[in-house]
């Protein structure tokens, strides 16, 4: 598990966010970035030889449970953010007749 490889995933997501012309494609890229950030945080609390954070009788080394508790919240909030962004995409499509950034920012009417 190398944090650098996870960082490459986040960079790929940012590349897609910067270059994609389709709005729905941008929402896909936000989902990629979010998953990469969650993976980075979980890797932060993990260490060599640690076990899952369930306390039993002879547990000596558990991994940090705080990032895990925070990242569950992030997953749930990320799904609602995706739903909200896609709803705004539908509204934009009914307003401008197109879901491409260039046409929406360019001339307004897509005809």
């Amino acid at each position: 598990m190398d944090p650098l490889l996870t960082f490459i995933v986040i960079l790929v997501g940012f590349y897609g966010l910067a270059t994609s012309n389709n709005i729905i494609k941008s929402v896909f890229c936000i989902t990629i970035i979010e998953s990469g950030i969650i993976l980075l945080f979980l890797n932060l609390g993990n260490f060599e030889g640690g076990t899952i954070p369930i306390i039993g009788e002879d547990v000596v080394a558990i991994v940090d449970p705080l990032p895990q508790a925070l990242m569950i919240t992030t997953i749930v909030i990320g799904s609602t953010v995706t739903a909200l962004a896609l709803m705004l995409c539908i509204k934009l499509f009914h307003h401008y007749g197109s879901i491409e950034w260039s046409k929406i920012f360019g001339k307004g009417d897509a005809s």
């Binding site: 598990m1 190398d2 490889l5 996870t6 490459i8 995933v9 790929v12 997501g13 590349y15 897609g16 270059t19 994609s20 389709n22 729905i24 494609k25 896909f28 890229c29 989902t31 990629i32 998953s35 969650i38 993976l39 979980l42 890797n43 993990n46 640690g50 076990t51 899952i52 954070p53 991994v63 895990q68 990242m71 569950i72 997953i75 749930v76 799904s79 995706t82 739903a83 896609l86 709803m87 995409c89 539908i90 499509f93 009914h94 307003h95 401008y96 007749g97 879901i99 307004g108 009417d109 897509a110 005809s111």
Partner: protein, 192 residues
């Protein structure tokens, strides 16, 4: 390389697979194929959560990331091209002889084909006979266009939101017909 355990080799392989799936999502053109790739991306990433000693996060990711988010994408991509028209005229302007053959339907079909939209005519009596002026009905039912008729003059009114740029195109198209008039009303602001 000799002291790598099986778990570490699996972790590196899954991370490289994750990078390739992310590149495929960014470079692919078809949005429907990307939905399948996003679901597989979530499954690979949840396997990595388990390797990072976080099985609780992995359960949440499988349930939400691999099942609910693709469902939301499928629903929104299929609903995106729907243009809902509410028919309050209740005569042969749009529907004659139980079929879509009226000249109003041909005009709307020409308009929606121009924007590659799917025309969806709603003539449910429960909604069409709703009390109140057209503007209030449009706000309550969230339709895109309302067709209504002036009983005295026989003029058909196509009413839509003023902010939509599609309405200007519809106005140009309806200029050829003498008994069709396109009207727009202002959007309601928040708090009114």
């Amino acid at each position: 390389m000799a002291d790598l355990t099986l778990l570490e080799i699996t972790a590196y392989a899954l991370q490289i697979l994750l990078i390739f799936i992310a590149i495929a999502i960014v470079l692919h053109k078809n949005n429907r194929t990307i939905i399948i790739l996003i679901a597989s991306f979530s499954l690979v990433v949840s396997a990595l959560y388990v390797i990072n000693n976080a099985p609780d996060v992995a359960i949440a990711e499988v349930a939400i990331g691999a099942a609910i988010i693709p469902l939301i994408y499928v629903i929104s991509i299929s609903r995106q091209r729907e243009f809902i028209v509410l028919d309050r005229a209740m005569d042969d302007f749009i529907i004659s002889d139980e079929e879509f053959t009226g000249y109003g339907y041909r005009l709307l079909k020409q308009f929606t084909d121009h924007y590659h939209l799917d025309l969806n005519i709603c003539n449910d009596p429960m909604i069409c006979q709703m009390e109140g002026p057209d503007q209030n009905v449009c706000e309550r039912t969230n339709v895109d266009l309302i067709v209504s008729k002036d009983e005295k003059t026989g003029t058909y009114y196509l009413k839509g939101k003023e902010s939509s740029l599609l309405m200007h195109k519809l106005e140009e198209m309806a200029a050829d017909y003498s008994d069709i008039e396109v009207q727009t009303f202002k959007d309601v602001e928040f708090g009114e």
